[in-house]
Symmetry: C2
Subunit: 94 residues, 2 copies
Amino acid sequence: MGFAETFKALSDPVRRDILVLLKRGRLSAGEIGSHFDMTGATISYHLNILKKAELVFENREKNFIYYELNTSVVEEVMLWLAELKGEKEYVEDK
Amino acid sequence: MGFAETFKALSDPVRRDILVLLKRGRLSAGEIGSHFDMTGATISYHLNILKKAELVFENREKNFIYYELNTSVVEEVMLWLAELKGEKEYVEDK
DNA sequence: TTGGTATTTAGAAATATTTCTAAATACTAT
DNA sequence: ATAGTATTTAGAAATATTTCTAAATACCAA
């Protein structure tokens, strides 16, 4: 949790692109990096931010670290937006 | 449109708080400012970012500028997230 | 153990963001 | 026209973010 972290993570185009890549399935850090014109170190930096925001989780295997999309946090963000929009289920008189 | 701008706008806690305030209805810049411990200039800066992202629109009246939530852009962001999550309606083989 | 591949960490440079103060603009009312 | 209130704009300082290079860690294979 922590919407601040999550929205911040979503605010960078590289990180959103990474998430879109992961939509098709898990990828290693190297495979992710190969889609961008940046060093592995920079990709690692972005992956770390996504991980802290719990938008992805990692899975170590052999010599690789695989990253996977965490859709449950995506869903939490959608709920926040739905409430902002005034979805009936979440509007509470206060 | 322009998700970069929109997500960036949503990434700041002050701006998210402003949007939540506006959920209840339109407010003038001054009324918005009174909820925060910041100068009017800073609030104006944030309102401008929200305006550029089309998350709010303004309405000039008398001596005041009223700001109002634009829920349609909130909805577009939700669609982007829904697609990321893999909602059936938006998944397209590519 | 030695060497190789995958990835991260550290530190620094460039850029962007947030905030302030002071000044400017815009509109109202007298 | 003048004075007053509401808000924005400009410019500067503080802080945060993004990116790189170089070095470190982790793991595998021979």
